[in-house]
Symmetry: none
Subunit: 254 residues, 2 copies
DNA sequence: CATAAACCTTTACGTAACGTCAATGTCAAT
DNA sequence: ATTGACATTGACGTTACGTAAAGGTTTATG
């Protein structure tokens, strides 16, 4: 199937100006130009436009999108998986916002009180998202393939049950950690429970366990922006808090 | 509690430039200016900023936001209820996008085909949103309460409808599954129909769908005695049969 | 066959919501 | 007393298009 600008624009729900602009900045060029100078798009361009729109939906600026989709190592399928991960993240952020608005409604009715900080929960995420959009591409380029390969290899070796178990653990870590963070005490029972869950989770992936390795990973959560972003996505400072808790758990000096 | 620009900015996760701009365009003026010309914000401004940020999150432009929040008939509590409605809408749209990306992944793996139109499902909504943002404020001012009431009714109706739909699906799964079990063939059309119904049912509850999740649940039906008991209550072996059918449906190896 | 409607083209200026200097003043703490 | 972190007001820059102008092409219709 071939499309002119307007046809493709209507299909995708964007303006023809947008497509011309995308051509201008070299992010989406038509398959060919016909004898009258009209832009003609075909299958590959339809799929690429979809990819671009996923990135845009997730708030990435066109410059970044361009550097990703024009990269020779761009893998559409991997990108789709990444889109899905980001969309799910976005949905949990939306849930935080919805919880926020719920509490705000309750507050106006005097059914509860909110601190000023709580009034902006779920919005702050934006900053992190933008940060990810800015540095994410670069980080992917740095660690990308290596990390992907590694995790894929592990994944193949795991049975589905193991996979489920690890997912369950990861989930429990997240919720326990969120609760522990509220207490503010990395030595407290909740934080130590989170650390222990994290040990279990790690043992899954490594097949073995060592206190040194555990502490090392914990430190990495603070040093490596990718992990920091992941753990801090709900509450900034969570990565650091987890590291502190794990240091105490492993008996490491902080 | 009183805030300077920077303090309030950090609290809300925006830049101080943004707050100065909001002052400039008259959308959020500080409570007062101190003797050195500093902007000082207090409680009312914190709450108003939250409102503004909800509108912004939903894609409304500042001009519209201004005309709403500066209107003498602006009702913060009503606005919060409206925010919630819009956020929930936004979430269902996100779910459409997630379903889209799921199908797109399946398509790249050759597990299904997609029309070009389907590739942009969930994006198109944007246009409607923007349209709503443009003319919504005006319409609300004109029809305000009536529209709100209507949408509230729709929400209530929707949830009941959804509830009914899921019950209907569950019922259909049970009968189809019973018939399919008679055939003894988990790859047959009846069993596959049951698997598909089960997918629909699952999508209802999860808001999204993934093969892995589907297969995981299927395995759980066999592993967890509570579920096994439920599905086997009529015919022992039904849980296992359903799992096999779903594994075939999702293309999983049994 | 003409002609209007509905496309397409490039060029170019406009806009929203800030980001980012620059030049300057204020405040708290060492 | 000075340093560093804050504040102020301009003012120009940027992104991702919108919008209009001036014109060529295609297609449907009288």
């Amino acid at each position: 199937m071939e499309y002119t600008v307007h046809k493709l624009a209507r299909l995708a729900g964007v303006s023809s100006r947008t497509l011309r602009y995308y051509d201008e900045i070299g992010i989406l060029k038509p398959a060919r130009i016909n004898s009258s100078g009209y832009r003609i798009y075909s299958q590959a361009e339809v799929d690429l436009l979809q990819q671009i729109m996923f990135y845009r939906e997730l708030g990435m600026d066109l410059n970044n999108v361009k550097s990703i989709v024009t990269s020779p190592s761009f893998d559409p399928t991997q990108a789709l998986l990444e889109h899905k991960r980001r969309l799910l993240e976005r949905r949990t952020q939306l849930d935080v916002l919805i919880a926020n608005v719920d509490r705000s409604i309750a507050a106006t009715e005097g059914r509860c009180t909110m601190t000023d900080k709580e009034k902006f929960e779920g919005f702050v995420q934006q900053m992190i998202d933008e940060n990810e959009a800015k540095y994410g591409a670069e980080a992917r380029q740095k660690y990308g393939d290596e990390a992907v390969d590694q995790s894929n290899a592990r994944l193949k070796g795991m049975t589905k049950e193991q996979h489920d178990e690890s997912a369950r653990l990861a989930n429990e870590i997240e919720t326990t950690l969120a609760l522990a963070f509220e207490t503010g005490d990395p030595a407290g029972p909740l934080a130590q429970k989170a650390a222990d869950l994290h040990r279990q989770w790690l043992t899954f992936w490594w097949g073995s366990y060592s206190k040194e390795g555990h502490a090392g990973v914990a430190q990495m959560y603070v040093d490596d922006e990718r992990f920091t972003a992941y753990y801090d996505k709900r509450q900034p400072g969570t990565a650091r808090f987890l590291r502190d808790a794990i240091f105490i758990y492993t008996g490491q000096k902080a």
